[in-house]
Structures are given as C-alpha cells and as structure tokens.
C-alpha cells in the first residue's frame, strides 16, 4: 500500500484501478464488495432492459384489438418471462446486491463484508440463474406460459419449460439467501468502534431487516419450486388435485415467500430514501428510531399477510378475515416512514438536486401504490379487483414507482461516489418529465382499466377497454424515452463525466469521507463514531 500524503489527496489507488488490476479476470474473480456491486450493476441492468423490452412488446400487442404483433401463446410467455426477469433478476436482488454490496461496509465503517468469497459466490449463482432463465426461453418446449407465479395445477401440466425456469428461480433464491446471510453477519460483526445499533445509518438498517427476510422467507420458495419439479417429473401429488393434492397449498407456500419478497424489494429502497432526504434537506432525519422500528415491523408483519393474494381462491372465512386485518395493519409502519420523510423536509433547506427530485417522486408514487394495496386488502373490494389490471397497476406503482424510482434516486445519489464522475444533472432532471408522465400514463390508466373490469394476463381486450389500452401503450413509450435518457446519461458520464469530488452533495455519512471512487480498503483507518448518523452541524468529529 502507498503512503498517505498529508492533508488530502491519497496516493492509494481507487478500487477501479486497484494498483493496475484492471483486466476482466481481476473483476470476475474479485472479492472486493465494490467490484462485486458493479458486477451486479451490469448484469442486473442488462436483464432490466430485457424485461423492459418485453414489457414494451406486450403493450404494443395491446395497442389494437385482436392480434397485433404476436400469437396468444407468445403473449402468455411474454408476461411470464417479464415477471420472472423483473422480479427475480431486477427488483429482488437490485438494491441489496448493487448498492448494498457497494455501500454497506463503507456506511458502517468496515473494509468489506463478513464473507467476501461467499459474496462472489452469490454473484456467480445470480449469473447461473439468469443464464438458466434465458435458456428456458429458447430450449425445447418453449418459454413458460404460466405467469411468474407458476400456479398448480397448470404449471404441473403445461408442456413448456417450467422445470427449467423454476430451477433458475431456485438458483437465484440461493444467491439471495447468501447475500442475506452475509449482510446480517456483517452488520452484527463489523460496525466501526462507537457505532452502536442506534447510531447506524438507515440504509444499513434496511439491509438488516431485508437480510432476515431473505434468510427466513426464501427457503420456502426454494422447497416449493423443487416440489414443482418433483411433481412434473415424479408425480408425487402434493399440489395435484387429480391425486388428492390441494392446489391452494401451492398458493400458500408460494406466497409465504413471495409476499415477504415484496418487502425485500421495498425496504432497501426506503433505506436509500432515508439517506437521501436528510442530505438534501440539510436536516437530520425526523424520527430515526421510528424508522428503525418500522423497518423491523414491516419485515415481521409483512411475513404474516401472504394469503391476501388468495382471497378469491377458496380459503375459509376465518383465514380471509385474519389476513385482511393483518394487511391493513402492515400499512401502518410504511405510513410512519412516509410521515417521517415529509416531516424531515419541514424547516429544512431543500436542494432540488436530481437525487432529491427522484426521492420525492418515490414518496408520491409509493403512496399511490401503498394505498391501492390497502384497498385490495378489503375483502369485498378484492372480489371485484382480483386478477384485474388494478392489481397490475398497484404492483407497478410499488415495485417500479417505489423500488424502481428509489433505485434511480439512489443511483443518482451514489453514482459520483462509485465512479468518481458526475453525470449531467440537467439531463437527469429532463429525463424526469417523460418518466413521470409516461409512468402515470401507463399505470394510472391500468388502475382505471382494472376498476372497469379489464382482466390481467389476457392477450386481447373488449372494445370498452380500448381507449385505456391505447393511452397506456403511449404512456409506455414516454416511459421508455425517459429510461433511455436516464441511462444514457449515466453511461455518458462514465466516459465523459466531470470528475466528482469526495462530497458533491454535502452528505454527512461515512461514504462522503472517503475519496470518489473509494480505495480498495475503503478507509485508511477505521473511523471511530462519536454520535448519531445525520448530524448537520458545522463541525463533525469522526
């Protein structure tokens, strides 16, 4: 290691250079959490664009009644693969694998995660799962057509590549589990001296809660998917009504994971927002402890509501009632967070930089998503809304408007730190307009279509829904333009961006005390923490 020059510029190379280790092999064999974060960044966003493309094609199909550009079987495969890619390869791994990997150690004052080699293994598993999923698109019997939920008994009977796709999801689940194990252990063991639990910043807190959900919920989907494969190959009968099996048990097992999974998706995004808002309001976060406890409450309560996906499947009355009640309750901790973020703005000195703009947008879109979710939790409404476009609108508001925009905000915030380059802020703001207009044009319309009765996963639509579909499709075009602007801005910045300083935003958490980009070991000396994380006083002792 090079010696440290007095007063500022360090002779230590950044992790991107790492003393000349820049070849491809040095990246794909690296156990440096920052490099692994970037490996995930590249793979995840490649898959994201595949998912976006499929979505755009689906919307093109719905531009006219009757066939437009594809056959019904293709459409079924499209919405299945769109879901599988977006959920298992973008929204679930997204923030933890990219930004959690990059920033968790730095935010808690550590040099790396607890198990760096396991971390790299997680990425290999991610790649393996993604490759298997892509193969399932093309191999033998064609891409799965069951929907990403793989409901029995159809998933047991259809001739398409269900086993391969489901095995891909199994492998991806294993990747997620290992990340969860790594992060939970890291947070327990590697916090810097003086960083008590209640002095830890909120993004690590969100990753802690998420890690527990990854550990305790994911294995349920693992066994469920394994059983689908066993059913298809050996006919053991557990989900097959022809053999006395109960398809509802499949749904239970599936959703016992997949509902907590949505909290894996949203908690880290909320954590990132909790980092961004104080920085651009130049105020400490309002209600730090409330946000901490609400994160834990969301993880816990969120594991108890799964059957709200099954209200119309034929469960007993008692189950319907209990799960509906719990669903209403789980909205409360999320609402507490929204309240705290907004309260942080009060009497703050607001800087509407790109990360802040997108963070505020997150709050707005997430509220719509969350509230439509509560509506669906009402049993009577659910009968009318289940399996309609209302559901599709709802989950895109939370997963895309929520996690997606949260991810964009977090990237806009942390990009200069990660790469040492600043993107064009005007383009980032300009991109917001088509993004916002397109997003709402696409998904708010879906909410309306759903209430009107348009069913989801239908290849075609009746005349009364036609106008809505056209508006939605045009919305998808605006949205795509916005995404292209946002992403090309980042890519351009990588090559031509202005050099970014260590602390371009005036943040007060640990990542802003290291160079942009950080050196391989993050800190020359592990810092000692003297106080809470969001102190915006003139003098901060570290």
């Amino acid at each position: 290691m090079s010696t440290i020059a007095a007063g500022g510029a360090h002779a230590e190379p950044s992790f991107l250079d790492a003393g000349g280790r820049t070849g491809l092999l040095s990246w794909i064999l690296s156990t440096d959490h920052k490099r692994i974060g970037i490996l995930y960044l590249v793979s995840i966003f490649t898959l994201f664009w595949v998912g976006v493309t499929i979505g755009v094609l689906m919307r093109l199909e719905q531009l006219t009644m009757g066939p437009t550009i594809m056959e019904p079987q293709t459409y079924n495969a499209m919405f299945t693969v769109h879901g599988v890619i977006m959920i298992f390869m973008f929204v679930i791994p997204g923030l933890p694998a990219v930004l959690g990997n990059f920033f968790l150690p730095i935010l808690i004052g550590a040099k790396d995660v607890a198990f760096p080699r396991l971390n790299l293994t997680s990425w290999y598993l991610f790649l393996a799962g993604a490759v298997l999923a892509v193969i399932s698109l093309f191999a033998g019997s064609g891409p799965p057509d069951t929907g990403w939920t793989f409901y029995a008994p159809y998933s047991l009977r259809t001739g398409t590549n269900v086993s391969l796709a489901v095995f891909a999801a199994f492998v991806l689940g294993f990747s997620s589990i290992l990340t969860g194990i790594n992060f939970v252990t890291t947070i327990h063991r590697l916090r810097a001296p003086g960083m008590t639990w209640l002095r830890m910043p909120l993004f690590p807190w969100s990753l802690y809660a998420t890690g527990w959900v990854q550990v305790l919920a994911t294995p349920i989907i693992s066994i469920t998917l394994l059983l689908v494969i066993l059913e298809r190959f050996f006919g053991i009968g557990v989900f097959d009504p022809a053999k006395g099996g109960d398809p509802l048990l499949y749904q239970h097992l599936f959703w016992i994971y997949s509902h907590p999974a949505v909290y894996i998706m949203i908690l880290p995004a909320m954590g990132a927002i909790s980092e961004i808002i104080p920085t651009f309001a130049h105020r400490t976060i309002f209600g730090y402890r409330a946000i901490v406890y609400s994160s834990i409450a969301i993880a816990a309560l969120g594991s108890l509501v799964w059957a709200h996906h099954m209200f119309t499947s034929g469960m007993g009355e008692l189950a319907n009632t209990i799960f509906s009640l719990l669903t209403f309750l789980v909205a409360i901790p999320s609402a507490i967070k929204v309240f705290n973020w907004v309260a942080t703005l009060y009497k703050g000195s607001i800087d509407l930089e790109p990360p802040m703009l997108y963070a505020l947008t997150f709050i707005f879109l997430f509220c719509i998503g969350g509230l439509t979710g509560v509506m669906q939790g009402a049993l009577a409404l659910n009968v009318h809304l289940h399996d309609t476009y209302f559901i599709v609108g709802h989950f895109h508001y939370v997963m895309f408007g929520g996690t997606g925009f949260g991810f964009f905000a977090a990237l806009l915030y942390w990009f200069p730190k990660m790469f040492g380059k600043m993107y064009n802020k005007k383009v980032a703001i300009a991109a917001w307009f088509p993004l916002f207009i397109g997003f709402n044009g696409l998904y708010f319309t879906m909410l309306v279509l759903g209430v009107m009765g348009m069913p989801r996963r239908y290849y075609d639509h009746l005349p009364q829904f036609h106008t809505g579909h056209v508006i939605a499709t045009v919305g998808s075009w605006f949205l795509t333009v916005g995404l292209l602007m946002l992403f090309s801005n980042f890519v351009m910045a990588l090559f031509k961006g202005r050099k970014a300083e260590a602390n371009p935003w005036g943040g007060v958490t640990l990542e802003w005390t290291v160079p942009s980009p950080p050196p391989t070991e993050n800190f020359e000396e592990i810092p000692t923490i003297a106080g809470p994380p969001y102190e915006f006083n003139p003098v901060v002792t570290r």
């Binding site: 305790l216 349920i220 509802l248 239970h252 016992i256 108890l304 007993g316 008692l318 189950a319 799960f323």
Partner: protein, 94 residues
Amino acid sequence: MQEEHAHVVPYATFVKVWACLLMLTFILVVVSRMFHEALSVWAMLTITPLKAGLVFYYFMHLKYEGPLLKAMVFVALATLVVFIGMLFFDISSR
C-alpha cells in the same frame, strides 16, 4: 485466537445426552406402538421437540452460546411455527 476462549464441553456430558436421546427414542417408540392413538400423539408432540432441544442445546452448543445466538434460533423456529399456525386458519375452516 478467539476460539481458545470457547467453552470446551466434557466428553461425559455428550455421552450422557446421547444416552438420554436413546432412552427418549425408546419411550417414544414403545408408546406409539403399544398405546392409544391420542397418547402416542401427545408423546410425539412432547418427546420429539425435547430430543431436538437436547441436540440443539448440547450437541450444537447452544447452551453455551450468548443471548444473541439463542435469540436468533428462537426467531427462526418461531417463524416456522407461525407459518404453520397461520396456515391452519385456512385449513381448519374449510
């Protein structure tokens, strides 16, 4: 090395636990095969978790671990129990 401070469990303790486990297994089998079904279900519901508990506590060293690890194990087991329990809200009412 931190491992030098780890608690060393005497051989005799493990042998005694093993003997208990074998005995509990014997009781369980006898009760299941000789007695009324209700009694055998009760035996299973008490003896089996007890055996598992002995393995966790002694063989897996949980007795000698700190409160953190004990709390984590509790959370994991409680999660499974809650999943099963809540599932029965549905199964029992249809």
